[in-house]
């Protein structure tokens, strides 16, 4: 469990003060993957560097399993670092060491005996799918392979937390996938709590349970991805879900239908059956006017604009709401004009 409490950090450069983090609080429960997203300069790397204990915050606490790490110094700080595996932003491998040699580095710092070190390195390279690259030097690995070696290195000393800063920023989509798979395995197979900093929403879509949006050093949105997508006005929701034509919803709220609405459906059951069942049960004609289906992690999520025709349209909508569909109606005033 990572808890960030009221973290603030500012830099002074050329006599101007830049507030990189302004009272940031964040909580990542054990065994979850949390994405921190935001545009360039939002303070993501500063947050990652503070949690990596590379940067000392001006104020606030960083707790991993309860202990405030930001307050430590010297050998206690070095010991604390082993609880947090870090994949820094950019290329961070030693070019004069093989993949296996890089993964072994934290084990050497922790003074693990050579024999144990070798078997642990083999395990880790297996975990990231690079067993056959053990004796290859980083210059001969692809960007995605290098990033996976960096993840293996970060996991070597069995940390409880894995922190990755833009682990996929320099990669193409298919390579990105291999790196994300590895982060996901770290969580599912090792039970590590993962914090991944990224500007790429595909990362959140693929592996994040929770997400925090950082904007100019402040958290403007934070919660479970599946909760946020159904909240009206959520940036995460509007970015991750398929587009529906908002303007169209306002322009002709009824159209040739008795009722139109926007629905967000989360999960296999809802996505697969809710709309046809509502249509059957209430004898209404239901047509899909826009939107579509997507996946967040393993969960299918749909956002549709639907039109309902028939006497019991309103009852059908109410029934869907009772079954956890998130329904948004066209604005009433416009509705009145159209009627």
């Amino acid at each position: 469990m990572i808890t960030v409490e009221n973290l603030s950090k500012s830099f002074t450069q050329n006599n101007t003060r830049v507030t990189a983090l302004d009272d940031v609080s964040l909580e990542v429960p054990d065994g979850t993957v949390c994405g921190v997203v935001g545009t360039s300069g939002a303070g993501k790397s500063t947050l990652a560097r503070c949690i990596s204990l590379l940067e000392k915050p001006d104020s606030g606490a960083i707790r991993v399993d309860g202990t405030d790490l930001a307050a430590l110094d010297g050998s206690r700080l070095r010991a604390a670092r082993r609880q947090i595996g870090v994949v820094p932003q950019g290329d961070s491998l030693l070019r004069q060491r093989t993949a296996a040699g890089n993964v072994a580095l934290p084990l050497e710092s922790a003074k693990v005996p050579a024999a144990q070190r070798r078997s642990r390195v083999a395990e880790l390279l297996d975990l990231v799918g690079l067993s056959d690259k053990a004796s290859v030097y980083p210059d001969h690995l692809s960007g995605g392979q290098r990033q996976r070696v960096a993840v293996a290195r970060a996991l070597a000393a069995k940390p409880s937390v894995l922190l990755a800063d833009e682990p996929t920023s320099a990669l193409d989509p298919s390579t990105t996938d291999s790196v994300l798979t590895v982060l996901d395995r770290a969580r599912s197979e090792l039970g590590v709590t993962v914090l991944v900093v990224t500007h790429d929403m595909a990362v959140v879509r693929r592996i994040a349970d929770d997400v925090a949006v950082l904007e100019e050093g402040s958290v403007v949105e934070h919660g479970k991805v599946l909760d946020l997508v159904s909240e009206p006005g959520s940036r995460i929701g509007s970015t991750l879900l398929p587009e529906t034509d908002q303007a169209e919803l306002v322009r002709s709220p009824g159209g040739e239908h008795d009722v139109t609405a926007e629905v967000v459906l989360v999960g296999f059951a809802a996505v697969g059956a809710l709309l046809p069942e509502a249509s059957n049960r209430f004898g209404v004609e239901l047509s899909i006017l826009g939107g579509g289906l997507t996946r967040l992690g393993d969960t299918p999520v749909a956002k549709f604009r639907i039109g309902l025709s028939g006497e019991r349209s309103e009852s059908a909508l109410k029934w869907m709401i009772e079954r956890d569909a998130h329904v948004r109606r066209a604005p009433v005033s416009v509705d009145g004009v159209a009627a």
């Binding site: 950019g90 290329d91 070019r95 580095l105 050497e108 710092s109 690259k133 030097y137 001969h140 290195r153």
Partner: protein, 228 residues
Amino acid sequence: MTEVTPWSEVFELARPATVETIYMVLVSTLIGVLGGLPLGVWLHLTSPAGLSPMPVLHRIISAVVDVVRSVPFVVLLVVVASLSRLLVGSAIGSTATIVPLAIAAIPFFARLAANALREVDSTAVEAAVTTGAGKPRIVWTVLLSEARSALVSAVGVTMLALIGYAAMAGAIGGGGLGSMAIQNGYYAYDDRVLYTAVVLLGVLAWGMQLLTDWVTKLVDRRRSLANV
């Protein structure tokens, strides 16, 4: 114009002179590296971007290094002559020449080493910091290890500079090929001796360059292919 010296006599002069030059260069390079490497590491660690910034002390030592480095060697030679007399009992000869050579070599190599370490990717250094590695380990396994080929080529550059300096020392009786060229060749109007010494100096420099290039490549693992 004196009679032309027979080749056998030129050879008699050249052999000990070459050995002396190699001796002076190797010993002073060794001292230069032994003294300059820790100094270079210190300069790097205490720099503003280093792992243990010490702004004031860094600036002072850095200035001293650069001042000593930019004193023309001829001046250093004369200034140090008295010191040499004190330390090795004589201000002339190859062993005495090693003193000013080493004094020149230490800051020279220190600066080259600090520059080589600065080229090590800071992200890789930070990654090592996050593994909980202490500073000695980071210096050894990250900084020196990653900069190894740049450091070897810095040794080569130092050696080449010292060949030049050692020859210069020959002008004031420093021994080696420099003395042979100037004392036995130039002042004795003996072109054969002079040019033989000059060619030997060139060959020596070239040989050392080849050697360091070879070692530089040898220690650099970055481009080496996996032995699968």
